[in-house]
Every structure is written in structure tokens, then in C-alpha cells.
């Protein structure tokens, strides 16, 4: 199959719309770089620049994460589970939450004979290595070749790091989707490359691992499916059939093994208020599908507009009551503008390439649409920011292409409109960088809160779990890591600046 994206000459002969043709960012495709060593060197050089510019933020983020104590609330219970339950209990899909690979990884680390500090560090690595891999792979996927593209890549990096789907997925020790996100991107990179015999094997493996960590990994299946429909080089029919069979087997196994499911598993936001599962069942149990649709749409809207959060329209409420805070303005402007930019770019690319043949750009836009839909479907029961993580990967890649397109469009429009485009670009860069810094502060605040919990919640938990000896033993063994001085603490910025990054604590 011929793919114009792999062949610059063929692509240049295509009767594209001049503006859209100008917008094209010809990025990922292995053959581009290998065919042109000078371009490859330029690409590596610009990647290094982007990495260098993003390094202060990324290094600070990872250091803050590393110095974050495990939370008393989630971590101890998880470790108790892997400490006393059998391997079978995690492998047989008879529970509401099925994350066998995650639990088995945690079990392998926790039951090892290493000292406690080493085991806790390993659990952190289980979380951070995929996140670091995601960041590097993301950069590799963009591979900027010019200064403009490099600038767009730096902004896209801020989009990735500054989004709620990223923030919520770096919460220790819940590494479920943090593993799935780089695997989804890796599958996407491979599926768009020239076919090699090992690509389908690797993609299926990625999907299995991602699904094994959390059902959100299923998002990879429709993403590869849409790549197949749009004739991506490595998306062959056999691969798609295998992935569909894998999905059918997974869903069947979950349904067969599972007893009757509760209508609602966790609390959920509805408008401006929170519903507990029992209340939701009482009010909407007769026909829960509207609420399911609401939850799914909430997750999708959170990726696109950073609102609602957990199904709750916090920002809208504050606007309604004229109590808008600076961070809310930053979130709305950045997400609204970027989503509009992506929609403008994506629709044009799809419209033009429907005639001329698909490239990786139009495929990325389609992958964003289907991954969003898949995240929505998979979060039907309750909405959380982290449930949009898989779609966020494609949102951020799309942000790169769309920002490049906007930069190029600036040169193709009249001066007055070019000024507007310039202002929009500046706003995008400012607001997303603010959000990326906000993520670092979010991590620090989480670390600080975790430590306060260790200091203040201990007596309550000792009393509450007096009969769960395993739980108490694990908790007591972790007191030192939870209370050790030197954990990350929020920067005490002046109030106006602090409120620009995050809500009031």
C-alpha cells in the first residue's frame, strides 16, 4: 500500500488545498529521517532543544514526585491486598476492578526480600518509568525539524504535562493508566510506520499489557482500528482482527466471571453536586443510561475543556456566582483555545486528505476522536480526570500539529488576521506553560497533603483497623516514609500567583 506520508515527492504532487498543504507538518514516518540525513540531524538538534527547554520543568516534576510520600489512604490498602491475597485472586476477573498486571507487579515488588525503602522506591519506579517513557516517546513522535515546529513541540509538551488527565495519573501509587498511556503512544508510533513483521506482535503485546494494567488499555483497539480504516502502513487486517478478538475475549471473561454488578461503583458529580452510589441508584436506578451518558461525556469534556471535573462543573458554578479564580480562567482559555485550534486543523486535514489520501496528521485527529469516545464509554460508571488519560495522549499530539498549522497559517493570512493569530499563539503558550508549572505545584501540594495525612490520620486508622493486623503492620512500617522531613512542599508564591496555578487548598 502506498502512503503519501512516507513519500515527500508523492505528497508534494498531491492536489492539496494550498493553505492546508502549507499546514502539513510531515513528521513521524521513519523513512523521512532516514532518507534525508541532514533533515534527521536537524530533527535531533531541535528535539534536543525542546528537551533542554522542557528539562527544568520535567526534572523538577520528577524530583517532586520522587520526594512525595505514599498516601496513607490508598497505598496501605493496596499493599495489604498484594500482601495477603493469592495470585489467583488478581488473575480471575470476578471483582469490579480488574487490574491483574498492576497487582501482580506490585505483589512481586512488595513480596521481594529487599529492604522496605528499596521496595517503596521500586513501586515509585513502576510509576515513573512509564511516565518518563511517555514524555520521551511523545517528543520522538513529534520530531520537530524547524524552529517553529520545535516551539510547537514545547507547547505540546506543556499540554501533555498541564492536563488534568496527566496530573491525575501521576498520583502515587495508582500507576494503572500511567502505564497504558505510553503504550498507546508506542502502538500509535508503530502503526504509522512502514510495516515490519514485529510491529503487529509488539502492538498486540502493548495492548495486552495496557489492558492488564487497567481496562482503559482497551482504547488502543479502536485507535488501531481507525488507523487501519485510514490505511496506516502497519495497521493490517490481521492485527485488527487479533485486537478485536482480544477485546471480545476480555469483555466475555469479565462478564462471565462477574456476579451481578452494582449500578454505580463510586460517587459521581452531577451538575454542581455529588451523588453517592446509593443515592444515584435510588434516583436513577430505573433508567441509569442518562447518567452513564453524562459520566462519559463529562470525561470527554474534561479532556477537551478541563471542565467538568469528576462530573462537577466547578468553574461554571464559580462563573455563575461571579467568583471566578485566576486558575479557572487559565484552564478555560487554554483548553478552549487549544480545542478550537485542534478542531480547525483536524477538520481541514480530514476534509482535504479524504480526497488525496490519509497522512499521519489526519489519522491522529481521527485517533483523538475515537480515543475520546472510547474513554467516554469506559468511564460510563463514574467520571474522573484520570479516565481521560489515554485520549490525552492523542490530544497532546494533535495539539502539536494544530499549533504548527496555526503558525504556518499566520504567514498565509492578511496582516490584521495575522495579528489575531499571533495573539492566539501567545495566549496558548502562556496559559499552557502556566498549567504545566501548576502540575509541579499540584504534585508538591499532594506530597504535603500526604504527609499531613500521615501525621494526623494515624490514630484514627490505628483504631479503625485494629482487627486488620496486616494492614496495621504495613501502615506502621510506612510511618517513617510518610513523616520523614524533606518531602516536597508547595512553593509559597504570593497569593495572586498561587491562585493562577491552582485552586485554594
Amino acid at each position: 500500500m502506498h502512503d503519501p506520508d512516507q513519500d515527500p515527492v508523492a505528497e508534494s504532487l498531491q492536489p492539496h488545498n494550498p493553505l492546508v498543504n502549507h499546514m502539513s507538518v510531515r513528521t513521524p514516518g521513519a523513512s523521512d529521517t532516514s532518507a534525508d540525513p541532514a533533515s534527521g540531524r536537524a530533527s535531533l538538534g531541535w528535539m534536543a532543544v525542546v528537551l533542554l527547554v522542557s528539562a527544568p520543568l520535567l526534572v523538577t516534576l520528577f524530583l517532586a514526585l520522587w520526594h512525595t510520600p505514599f498516601p496513607i489512604s490508598e497505598a496501605v490498602a493496596l499493599l495489604e491486598d498484594v500482601s495477603k491475597k493469592s495470585v489467583e485472586s488478581f488473575v480471575i476477573p470476578d471483582a469490579s476492578y480488574y487490574r491483574p498486571f498492576y497487582h501482580l507487579s506490585l505483589m512481586a515488588i512488595w513480596r521481594s526480600s529487599s529492604p522496605l525503602d528499596t521496595r517503596l522506591a521500586d513501586i515509585k519506579l513502576l510509576h515513573f518509568v512509564p511516565v518518563a517513557f511517555l514524555v520521551l516517546l511523545f517528543l520522538w513522535q513529534m520530531r520537530p525539524r524547524t524552529g517553529t515546529q520545535a516551539a510547537a513541540a514545547a507547547v505540546a509538551m506543556a499540554v501533555l504535562v498541564g492536563s488534568p488527565g496527566f496530573r491525575d495519573n501521576i498520583e502515587l501509587p495508582l500507576a494503572y493508566t500511567a502505564v497504558g498511556m505510553p503504550l498507546a503512544l508506542a502502538a500509535w508510533v508503530l502503526v504509522n510506520r512502514e510495516w515490519r513483521f514485529w510491529h503487529p506482535v509488539a502492538i498486540v503485546l502493548f495492548a495486552i499489557v495496557a489492558i492488564g494494567f487497567k481496562e482503559q488499555g482497551l482504547v488502543i483497539v479502536p485507535v488501531v482500528g481507525v488507523a487501519w480504516l485510514m490505511r496506516a502502513p502497519s495497521a493490517r487486517t490481521g492485527l485488527v482482527v487479533t485486537l478485536v478478538a482480544l477485546t471480545v475475549a476480555y469483555v466475555t471473561a469479565r462478564l462471565v466471571w462477574h456476579g451481578p454488578l452494582p449500578l454505580f461503583e463510586q460517587s459521581m458529580g452531577l451538575g454542581f453536586s455529588t451523588l453517592e452510589p446509593s443515592e444515584a441508584a435510588a434516583r436513577y436506578g430505573g433508567f441509569p443510561y442518562w447518567l452513564y451518558a453524562y459520566n462519559g461525556l463529562s470525561t470527554m469534556a474534561n479532556v477537551l475543556f478541563s471542565e467538568p471535573t469528576r462530573g462537577l462543573f466547578f468553574i461554571s458554578r464559580d462563573i455563575a456566582y461571579l467568583r471566578v479564580q485566576p486558575w479557572e480562567v487559565v484552564q478555560l482559555v487554554s483548553s478552549g483555545l487549544m480545542t478550537a485550534c485542534i478542531a480547525w486543523w483536524g477538520i481541514q486535514r480530514v476534509r482535504d486528505e479524504a480526497r488525496s489520501g490519509w497522512t499521519v496528521e489526519s489519522r491522529t485527529f481521527a485517533a483523538l476522536v475515537v480515543s475520546l469516545a472510547a474513554c467516554g464509554v469506559l468511564s460510563f460508571d463514574y467520571s474522573r480526570d484520570r479516565l481521560g488519560g489515554m485520549a490525552l495522549v492523542f490530544y497532546a499530539v494533535s495539539a502539536y500539529y494544530a499549533t504548527c498549522a496555526l503558525c504556518h497559517a499566520m504567514g498565509a493570512v492578511a496582516r490584521a488576521r495575522a495579528v489575531l493569530v499571533g495573539v492566539a499563539l501567545m495566549l496558548l503558550a502562556v496559559t499552557w506553560q502556566v498549567r504545566a508549572v501548576g502540575t509541579v505545584e499540584y504534585v508538591r501540594r499532594t506530597a504535603w497533603r500526604n504527609q499531613i495525612e500521615w501525621l494526623a490520620d494515624l490514630p484514627k486508622r490505628r483504631a479503625e483497623f485494629v482487627d486488620r493486623h496486616e494492614y496495621r503492620d504495613i501502615m506502621e512500617s510506612m510511618v517513617e516514609q510518610g513523616t520523614r522531613p524533606g518531602s516536597s512542599e508547595p512553593t509559597l508564591y504570593p497569593r495572586w500567583l498561587a491562585r493562577t496555578f491552582l485552586p485554594r487548598p
Binding site: P56, G147, M426, E489
Partner: protein, 177 residues
């Protein structure tokens, strides 16, 4: 040789790139500056809460981490601390247990921390702390001590006289026993 529209396009493209690079570089430099300062001056007001001179000071500000640092460094959570406050002690310096002081200044986190890290209550001191919290209207703290401290001595809390300072009354009653 480039044409006029080509030059316009190139200029616009460069301008667009700088619209993005400007804030991006500024953010990178700002992060470098803040983190550099954090490494060089970790006690700067930008990174550290105000210095606590004593356990009493940390408790008064409900700075639970600083309060814990004193306990971690070896200060006895069951010992006594000297406190002085214009209202809470009527300007007098008095010796009081850290827990009672935490109750008096409504340092809820510090109360929990002290209960979790070694503060032992007997029936009488538990009752004194609960009575003080109740007199001050801090129901949550009273309930917490009742639930997670020792079982309080079974005597009703006395009513404060007009103008009486709750902490001083609690200390006098404790001394009277």
C-alpha cells in the same frame, strides 16, 4: 531570490515561532530561577513556613510538620511547654501539656499528631482536654479525644465563670486535684 509574499510568509512564520518561544523560554527560566533559589536558600519565605521557635509556637500556628519535627528531635509529647498569650493565658507564662495547648489554640492537626505520636492521656487529663474543647466550642476536637484518647474521668465539666480564661481554669482545676 525570494519574492515579497515569500518574505512575508517567512517573517510571519518566524514571528509565530517567537510568540511560542517567548513564554516557553520565560517559563523555563522562571522554573530554573525558583528551583535554584530553593536549592541555595531552602529557608527562604518562598519555600518554608515561618520558623517555629518552639513546639508551642508550631502548635499555635497548627504547623503540624514543624511541630512533629520537635517530637521527632526528641521533645517529650507528654512533657510541659511554656506558653504565653495575650488572651489565651491572660498574658501570663504558664506551663501546659502540648495537647492541652493544641486544644486551646484549636490546632486540630497538631492534636491528631500528638495523639498519634506518643501523647498519653490518663482519665483525668483526657477529661480536662475534653472539657476545655467543649468550653471553647470545639466539638470536633472534644469528640476526637473522647474517641481516640483515654476514657475520660466520669465527672461533668464545670461551667466557666464570667471573665474566666478557659485554659487557666483547666490548669487550676488540674492543679487542685
Amino acid at each position: 531570490m525570494t519574492t515579497q509574499p515569500e518574505r512575508h510568509t517567512m517573517r510571519s512564520s518566524r514571528l509565530a515561532a517567537w510568540c511560542l518561544w517567548g513564554p516557553t523560554l520565560l517559563a523555563a527560566l522562571a522554573v530554573c530561577g525558583v528551583e535554584g533559589l530553593r536549592a541555595r536558600r531552602p529557608d527562604d519565605a518562598l519555600f518554608a513556613t515561618p520558623f517555629a521557635y518552639s513546639l508551642a509556637d508550631a502548635i499555635e500556628h497548627d504547623d503540624v510538620q514543624r511541630a512533629y519535627a520537635f517530637i521527632r528531635a526528641g521533645q517529650d509529647p507528654n512533657g510541659v511547654i511554656a506558653v504565653r498569650h495575650a488572651d489565651k493565658t491572660a498574658g501570663r507564662t504558664v506551663l501546659v501539656s502540648p495537647l492541652l495547648w493544641a486544644v486551646d489554640v484549636r490546632a486540630e492537626h497538631a492534636v491528631w499528631m500528638l495523639l498519634g505520636f506518643g501523647a498519653r492521656l490518663d482519665a483525668e487529663s483526657s477529661r480536662t482536654a475534653i472539657c476545655l474543647a467543649t468550653q471553647l466550642g470545639y466539638t470536633d476536637i472534644a469528640n476526637a479525644i473522647a474517641q481516640y484518647g483515654a476514657t475520660p474521668a466520669p465527672r461533668a465539666c464545670r461551667t466557666l465563670r464570667a471573665g474566666e480564661v478557659p485554659l487557666l481554669a483547666a490548669l487550676e482545676e488540674g492543679a487542685g486535684r
